[in-house]
């Protein structure tokens, strides 16, 4: 059971380049999230989705875009990368059912913008 799979694990981008962080889950969870975590800091919510076809902005959406065409996949797009986007990115899923709402995190994607 793979759970939450993020790719790539590490990436170096040049300023102004674009890229997509992939996130796939095999748990059939309805909610999916993208967080970023700067060194020594907490988790900041970028975007989230409550189901296929529905996405919403989180706390820090600027510079990012997402889509949720299927239950399984929730890619995060970075357009015109900036040094401020250097961070660790975590994708996460959540099954909201019968009062249990545990979040499962992927292993993270380390992104450096130079």
């Amino acid at each position: 059971n793979a759970g939450v799979t993020q790719t790539p694990k590490f990436r170096i981008l040049k300023i102004g380049q674009s890229m997509t962080l992939q996130c796939a889950q095999d748990m059939n969870h309805n909610y999916m999230y993208w967080y970023r975590q700067d060194p020594g800091m907490g988790l900041k919510l970028i975007y989230y989705s409550v189901g296929a076809g529905i996405t919403d902005k989180g706390e820090v959406p600027n510079g990012y875009n997402v889509s949720r065409s299927t239950t399984e996949d929730f890619p995060l797009r970075l357009e015109l990368a900036a040094p401020s986007q250097t961070s660790v990115y975590f994708c996460a899923t959540q099954l909201l059912s019968e009062g249990r709402n545990t979040i499962y995190f992927g292993e993270g994607s380390w992104l450096t913008v130079v």
Binding site: M41, L43, F90, R100, N101
Partner: protein, 112 residues
């Protein structure tokens, strides 16, 4: 919106000492969860508390939900170097079936 607060952000203890940290919410919570993130790792679910005053134990870790369901505590007895990491609390934004808001976390370091 709802705020979940964890203060301080960092704490250093000597191995063998006890450690307690608190999580406070600006609103009453239907439940609260705790997560642990090891250095270089990803957050991992530890426990969920639902009932007012609930206490749950996991080996040397004791979790408590406040009577008013607006705060929670994590107590570690006789800390070990394996306890190093960042501990996050999280509560649902509104009802039980809503996305979670995370606290900023407390990073625990343990001196051997």
């Amino acid at each position: 919106g709802q705020q979940v607060m964890q203060i301080p952000q960092y704490q250093h203890v000597q191995e063998g000492e006890d450690f307690t940290t608190y999580c406070n919410s600006s609103t009453t919570l239907s439940n609260i969860q705790w997560y642990k993130q090891r250095p270089g790792g990803h957050p991992v679910f530890l426990i969920q508390l639902v009932k007012s005053g609930e206490v749950k134990k996991q080996k040397r870790l004791t979790f408590q939900f406040g009577e008013a369901k607006k705060n929670s505590s994590l107590h570690i007895t006789a800390t070990q170097t394996t306890d190093v990491g960042t501990y996050f609390c999280a509560g649902p934004d509104t009802g039980a079936n809503s996305k979670l808001t995370f606290g900023k976390g407390i990073t625990l370091s343990v001196r051997p």
